[in-house]
Symmetry: C2
Subunit: 424 residues, 2 copies
């Protein structure tokens, strides 16, 4: 008998019919002989509606009360889902984050999990019943007040319970069949990935792919929780996300590249004429960090014609460009530079694959493909399993298609690609 944690997002439980469909899925898993713990988000737009209500009442809602308000959303969906599962003849009980034993710090609105003590959940599944748990919420261990986990909180809740219960799998239900080798809206030949590692998932998610929230994947990696991203509309196997030593991975001939992601949410800041003295770069990045700038790529080059002077370029989310530049200009004297140039919107293309650790010639093939397409490369950054290039955002989508094809990722003739949105 396996223990399965299943997570259902707000779009899966948007109305009574959705709730009944999810209940049938839970019942089916239970009847197949598994123990089931289901994590559920608030119904459809409930959370947004509650935020609107708060904004009607006050311009500055207190954080503690905001969390009390928002947690009403999962309270409703978890109770209804438990009712729907009971209606199918399977005993089910609903628990708030607090009742389920999810302990957090005191940072309302973006609390971190400090522990999971799932006593009631263990008792419930031992008794043969299904446990339904509210996602996105926990309890502040200092005050016993309710907290919310912030963006991606329900995914993280599911992984946390899967880890605490030592579950055999944590199924993340969505409205697509799994994780794709590229965004099918841009690369129609994209195919569903059968299995991938946590690292690949993290790299893809961090570079534009709407896969899962980074936080949930990091949690899964830390506790080696096997994730299974799959569709709530079909019984097909989805995408498994596992440890690199998993037998699932070994059973597969890993391709050099698993996926191609593209990102047009970043901008570029170039600081020109920085005096090439020790400490210049560290000053710059301390200031950017203070301004909450979220840096992805950095390139520094020293001028050949003017030794002792260098240029430093980095990427940050487009909406942060203005604040970061203002912060740097405010410290112009201290840092010592000539001027700042910015590009509000750049294109970033990334290829990701565990295979890069062993395969050679990957970067050559990437650059060659882009050259043949006439796409110019502005910046390059790499990790052990990723190569990212900054390109003209106008050329980003054709570049993605060409690269996807060049690395042999295009789906076979006749392979159905189902894609209905991001599901996030």
């Amino acid at each position: 008998m396996a223990l399965i944690v299943q997570k259902f997002g707000g779009s899966s439980v948007a109305d009574a019919e959705g709730i009944r469909r999810v209940a049938r899925r839970i019942a089916q898993t239970k009847r197949a002989g598994n123990d089931v713990v289901a994590i559920v988000s608030a119904m459809g737009d409930t959370t947004d509606d509650l935020i609107d209500l708060a904004n009607e009442v006050t311009k500055k809602p207190p954080a503690r009360e905001m969390d009390i308000l928002l947690t009403a959303g999962e309270r409703i969906s978890m109770a209804l889902l438990a009712m729907a599962v009971n209606d199918l003849g399977i005993e089910a009980h609903a628990y708030t984050g607090q009742q389920a034993g999810l302990k957090t710090d005191n940072k309302y609105g973006r609390a971190s999990i400090v522990g999971v003590i799932p006593e009631r959940i263990v008792r419930t599944i031992k008794s043969g019943a299904v446990a339904i748990v509210a996602g996105f919420q926990g309890v502040n261990v200092e005050t016993n007040d309710v907290t919310t986990l912030g963006r991606g909180g329900s995914d993280t809740t599911a992984v946390a319970f899967a880890a605490a219960l030592n579950a055999d799998a944590c199924e993340i239900y969505t409205d697509v069949d799994g994780v794709f080798s590229a965004d099918p809206r841009v690369v129609p030949a994209a195919r569903q990935i059968k299995v991938m590692t946590y690292e690949e998932t993290l790299e893809l998610a961090a570079h534009g792919a709407k896969v899962l929230h980074l936080r949930a994947v990091e949690f899964a990696r830390r506790y080696k929780v096997p994730l299974h991203v799959r569709s709530s509309f079909s019984d097909k196997e989805g995408t498994w996300i596992v440890d690199e030593n998993s037998t699932k991975i070994n059973a597969t001939e890993a391709p050099a590249v698993s996926g191609v992601s593209h990102d047009r949410s970043q901008g570029k800041v170039s600081i020109v004429g920085v005096s090439d003295a020790p400490g210049s770069a560290s000053k710059i990045f301390a200031i950017v960090a203070q301004a909450d700038g979220n840096i992805d790529m950095i390139v520094q080059n020293t001028s050949l014609t003017n030794p002792g002077i260098s240029n430093i370029s980095f990427t940050v989310p487009s909406e942060q460009v203005e604040d970061v530049v203002a912060a740097l200009e405010a410290h112009k004297e201290d840092i010592g530079f000539r001027e700042i140039q910015t590009v509000k919107s750049i294109g970033i293309l990334s290829i990701v694959g565990e295979g890069m650790r062993s395969h050679t010639g990957i970067s050559a093939r990437l650059f060659d493909t882009l050259a043949k397409e006439g796409v110019n490369i502005d910046m390059i950054s790499t990790s052990e399993i990723r190569i990212s290039v900054v390109v003209d955002p106008e050329r980003l989508e054709e570049a993605a298609r060409a690269v996807h094809s060049a690395f042999g990722l295009d789906s076979q003739l006749g392979e159905a690609v189902v894609y209905g949105g991001t599901g996030r």
Copy 2:
């Protein structure tokens, strides 16, 4: 400095504007130098909407999950109200029934309060802040699960906290100016009662007047909590409901009759030809009780022409008549009677007043007034401070007007009577 518990019903907090209006009322009370604990119901139709959702999902919602679902309503309103009070520059914190320390038994949907341990509320008001508490809900002391108190639960919550905190007053806000000497929709000359006893309130509420829920008034009587029923739309004094020994009562010349109520929700069951043997009546009422029949009045008369045979009539809510008759017919042999006659809908007129304890001639004046109006009396029942008569429901309203006038209750010329609905 006084401690005031204020209770606001769902219609007072039906939307953001209502919530802001209630917040201003709380702020005004606090700024006047009082400590304030506010009990709040769910917004407008929220509870009904949640019940509808449950019914869409299943025909038989489990009771525990139903309570989890319904308590989401007050969770939303209490958080929003706390935000709105904070917005006015007064610190306020919201607490669920559980956090506020309201302990109940395990009867989901209609839990009884077993105790109130308002530690966090005391700490909050001692710190100078306002405490906002969710009405209608508590925590099952056996399992730590949330429970709801059933109908009138928010009124009862307010009274329970007023008792536990030894509050100076428990203000019940509604959309009318207070309690009236009769229903102004039927008796236009009805006037607002300034002060009345718990017993009077209980008798009126039990006999058709939509005043307050019986349970809340009984709780108030037991713990001698002064109730103040008043309008959330004006600053006028409302109706005080107090102990008979209160100085408020002594300061007033109590009239013989305080109020007139009418009730058309009852039906009549007459069992004809019951053998007048010891135990017949007890058999009958045991069977009615088993069928959940809620008896109000009982009349038994022995046939003069046929000694040893009696007729027994009683009143129950109209919707219970059918079930009660079926239960009695099923035991016809055992009880021994000839036949059952029913009237689905009867009229009951009641007059209530502490003055009845001392004044004489009250019943004579009642019967005389009805006789002059040509209204026939079918049954009579009395308590120390109440006389009720069953009359033709077609004549009920004119009878109420005539009796109201005969006991000198009609409002003076020029006295404004404001009435906007029942507010329950």
